[in-house]
């Protein structure tokens, strides 16, 4: 079974703090994604990566950056957290085809920024 794990289930940070969210997948997937999920809205893509050290902006990249130094690990960084970044963050991975292959999701990190 594909397993995608995220470093924290719940996180509380203060405005202005630097925040790291980590995601690890154990199935040698090429592609990894970061989404945020807010009530009443669909999942929105923040960044994605199709190879080590390769990254592309999604629909809402402002205020975020990412790092992919190893194939299995994809980190989301909030350089200076703000209250409007309070959300559920979901990491996903997929096999080789960037968009047509099924995405497998982690359990999510619920981030609260005070």
């Amino acid at each position: 079974d594909v397993k995608v794990t995220q470093s924290s289930r719940y996180l509380v940070k203060r405005t202005g703090e630097k925040v790291f969210l980590e995601c690890v997948q154990d199935m040698d997937h090429e592609n990894m994604f970061w989404y945020r999920q807010d009530p009443g809205l669909g999942l929105r893509l923040i960044y994605f990566s199709y190879d080590v050290k390769m990254k592309e902006k999604g629909d809402i990249p402002e205020g975020y950056s990412v790092s992919r130094e190893k194939k299995e690990r994809f980190s989301l960084i909030l350089e200076s957290a703000s209250t409007n970044q309070t959300s559920m963050y979901l990491c996903a991975s997929s096999w080789t085809s960037l968009w047509t292959d099924t995405q497998y999701f982690g359990p999510g990190t619920r981030l609260t920024v005070l």
């Binding site: 009443g40 669909g42 999942l43 968009w99 047509t100 995405q103 999701f105 999510g108």
Partner: protein, 112 residues
């Protein structure tokens, strides 16, 4: 503008009461449609992929169908364990690149 709309937002059923969830889209260049199930506090779990109008997929009490403008997730004789939020996501080719758009989901509650 490309849009994906799921209806209803919430649905309450009695155990055994069959119903359908809808995912409608106004997109051009549809390449595929995904259905996911999401339990509270968890990430979405893949259910089905549909690629062309007329295609159907089944899994236990669930059946997904696809037309040119919408997809339905039919739930036959649901059980309380089917309670979850069901998400659809549309893969389209637009402006020279692929894009995946998620709907906001339908919250399903099945009561004994």
């Amino acid at each position: 503008e490309d849009q994906v709309t799921q209806s209803p937002e919430a649905l309450r059923l009695q155990e055994g009461e069959s119903s359908s969830l809808n995912c409608s889209y106004t997109v051009s260049g549809l390449r595929g449609l995904f259905w996911y199930r999401q339990d509270p506090g968890k990430g979405p779990e893949f259910l089905f992929t549909l690629y062309s109008a007329g295609e159907e997929k089944e899994k236990e009490r669930l059946k997904a169908t696809l037309t040119k403008k919408e997809s339905f997730l039919h739930i036959t004789a649901p059980k309380p364990e089917d309670s979850a939020t069901y998400l659809c996501a549309v893969l389209l080719f637009s402006g020279g690149y692929n894009k995946l758009i998620f709907g906001a989901g339908t919250r399903l509650a099945v009561h004994p």
